[in-house]
Symmetry: C2
Subunit: 479 residues, 2 copies
């Protein structure tokens, strides 16, 4: 595969003469394996998780929340184009292309954990055959492919990178829930350790997935691009959160502000919320921070953005406490219903979900917590059993918290809540799901991230709304 021409690569793909080994069959690896199988390659998926491999080989797709994946997976497995194994080195030894899709998490002290990458590199090195191409889809810090993965591959294979095998970084840019669509539509950033590696990988992705390819100087540039675009999001969400907390105090509605700003050509809206979760945004900054520290540089802004986003669950607990206080209740002894546990809507993933911190803190403060999430019905999540229905979660509750805006929560019935909840009750909206005035008019105590309560309560004389009413009276008395 390595150092083949573009047309050779295309010919082999069309003839089903390319074998690909995908190492790591999770959120990225399984769709990657499936897409390449669908494109005509023989794909062997390798994962150290025996249960997962057995499940896949019995044609069960784990990622039922990925649009279009289950159907595509069933098709390619039925056609015998994709199968799975726990024997990584063996699988590698028969592959033209090896794609690394293992997770790169951070540990509890926020230190990047490259142990999966390290183990995968050793397993691949042991099986690597000459002329093969190694593709790193896993997100790693700039320099990790060149300085960490490459030496392991070379040592364990006895082959020289850039001479006997190719190596590129091609970091995944797809969002959970839309992986299939994004892998075909979002251009792939490919940076190889040499031009032949880059070209080989570019040909493969262009031919197999029909995706545009952006060729960059080297693996570290590709990794810097991946991290920069994700950190852009993390920092901008932190900025939205900083504004939101401030505007709550200044009596300005952050949602109205975002709408207004969005009418300017050089503004991009980002929304405040309960924090940032998932496998990428809360971890990616630390991959860059650790490489920065190695060269004596402290990326203050990137680090501060993490601190701000990590502090949002505490702010949500403050909002819950404040709303309950308005309803004449204390956190201690109240029953609080968390709606939505996963880190984003319609995706079954609770990795680093801010709702975990909220839940743990509520329990610590003496509240009773019930939870409901349509993706986790009946399962135990964060130590609490998830109710089977929304109704069971909110019945007799003192406070409902919207933590994730799953579709089921998009049109909550506040009239029903009035009858079901233990009134006077509170509603805390971390996702801008409800109209604050509507919630307040239903008789609930209300808090929302970035949404100052006084804006919708006309009785508060010192708020702007009060002022408008005063002025209205004056205007009327004049006419």
């Amino acid at each position: 595969m390595y150092a083949e021409t573009r047309s050779e690569s295309r010919k082999r793909l069309l003839e089903g003469d390319i074998s690909i080994c995908v190492v790591g069959l999770g959120r990225i690896g399984l769709p990657t394996a499936t897409l390449f199988a669908e494109a005509g390659a023989r794909v062997l998926g390798a994962d150290i998780n025996q249960d997962l491999v057995a499940s896949l080989n019995s044609q069960k797709c784990q990622l039922t929340d990925e649009d279009g994946l289950p159907e595509m997976f069933s098709k390619v497995v039925a056609e015998g184009k994709l199968w799975a194994t726990t024997h990584v080195s063996e699988a590698v030894s028969s592959a033209d292309v090896i794609i690394i899709c293992v997770p790169t998490p951070v540990d509890s002290a926020k230190v990047p954990d490259y142990s999966y990458v390290e183990a995968a590199s050793h397993d691949i090195g042991k099986g690597l055959k000459p002329k093969s191409l190694v593709v790193v889809e896993s997100t790693v810090g700039p320099g990790i492919v060149e300085d960490f993965i490459m030496p392991i591959l070379e040592a364990d294979s006895g082959l020289k990178a850039g001479l006997e095998f190719g190596l590129v970084s091609c970091p995944e840019r797809a969002d959970p829930g839309k992986i299939i669509q994004h892998m075909k539509e979002i251009p792939k950033i490919i940076g190889g350790i040499d031009p032949q590696s880059t070209e080989a990988a570019a040909s493969l992705y262009e031919n197999a997935l029909g995706v545009k390819v952006v060729r960059v100087s080297d693996p570290k540039t590709a990794n810097a691009i991946k991290l920069t675009e994700n950190l852009f999001r993390d920092v901008n969400i932190a900025l939205a959160n900083e504004f939101a907390v401030l505007y709550e105090r200044l009596g300005v509605d952050m949602i109205e502000v975002i709408k207004g700003c969005s009418t300017k050509y050089n503004f991009m809206p980002h929304y405040p919320g309960p924090g940032v979760g998932g496998p990428c945004l809360p971890s990616n900054p630390y991959y860059l921070i650790v490489e920065s520290l190695k060269v004596g540089n402290i990326p203050h802004l990137i680090r501060l953005a993490r601190e701000i986003n990590d502090a949002m669950p505490d702010h949500v607990v403050d909002l819950i406490s404040g709303a309950l206080n308005d309803a004449g209740k204390t956190l201690k002894g109240s029953t609080i219903s968390l709606l939505g546990l996963s880190y984003k809507p319609e995706v079954k993933d609770i990795q680093q979900s801010p709702m975990e911190k909220v839940l743990v803190e509520l329990l610590r403060l003496g509240a009773t917590v019930r939870s409901y999430d349509p993706m986790y019905k009946g399962e135990v999540v964060f130590g609490v059993k998830v109710e089977d229905t929304l109704q069971a979660a909110v019945e007799g509750s003192d406070c409902v918290v919207i933590g994730t805006l799953h579709k089921e929560f998009e049109n909550l019935n506040l009239d029903a809540f009035v009858k079901t909840l233990n009134m006077p009750a509170a509603i805390v909206d971390t996702r801008n799901a409800l109209d604050p005035g509507d919630v307040i008019n239903h008789g609930f105590a209300y808090r929302g991230v970035g949404r100052p309560v006084g804006k919708w309560i006309s009785s508060e004389a010192d708020t702007k709304v009060g002022l408008v009413i005063d002025l209205d009276k004056r205007s009327k008395s004049r006419s």
Copy 2:
């Protein structure tokens, strides 16, 4: 004007029966006055600067760098629709609408200076007649219109706001150089102290300028929107600068990174540079910071962004020192030519230009500084006389620094520089104006913000470029 209907307002405008007083005739006020005059209003511009007023009344437009303004100004003045005066209260007393366009700078300790707003409010209050509408285009912190401007207007006029006169915040959103275009095209955010004020101002702007209007809850929301969109830019430029300085050390080219990131749908490119200048971005954050501190909130991210951007001129000096070092020279004793002094291209404005800090620091370190800027030929800027030509600025120089990318600097002739400069010489590019490889191939020592030198120097064995060359050799030996 205040509490008139939309159609009444339109009718009066068409009949030339609206008189407007624009207070402050600078970068925002003069185009505002000119546009309303062109729309059919009788406009009286008021400014305390006698020279400016005399100049305008002799039909001389100060802002020759504003696209389309000089022609429009000449026309409305010739038609007798616009004239200027230093008597603010008198001008106000004959106006239906008063538009405040005075500057709101920060002092050297970064404290917002509302003295111009305060003085204008007193002058307006003294002349204010019933039923008039006061519009604040000046950028101020959330709450300043309600809690600072309104009480002054009421006390000095003896009239009640929201009853006897209207008051709105309608913060300008136009970029210097494109003020006329932006005032017509970028929607106006209008928040009044009561609905009648908002409607009166909305009618006026829609009818006169044909611009879209976004009606918001109150003045403080309008001001929050203005500050949020500008702070979004300041923070994102700070993030770009943080990445740039880091990537210089990691051997990654920031410009290549931005190009790569820009292929993702949820990324917005911002470019690193020598810092952030102008009347808005370096000041606006402090208007919000001071209001935040009043309510016990510290906006850490916004403040840190300012610190990062303010530190960039020092980084530029480091780059100059490094480039000269590569050329075998010290800063002390070298002649350094700064190309571009204004804070943005093609605009004659040096307010808070980062080039001032660069220049001062270079002088302090013992360099001889020459400067050239096509907007300031022959004038003394930052204590140094600006050369009349580019050639005069660079002849015999040891280092050329591109500080602002005026059109004249877009296609610099490096071949000519080789003959003119005191070789070995250095070129430092703070604006991504030149191709680094091209500069290096011409024999110059080179530095650029966010552009690691090793990327373009093949002789450095420990850089990536060196590695590529090694691998190329190996590949060739194999074939």
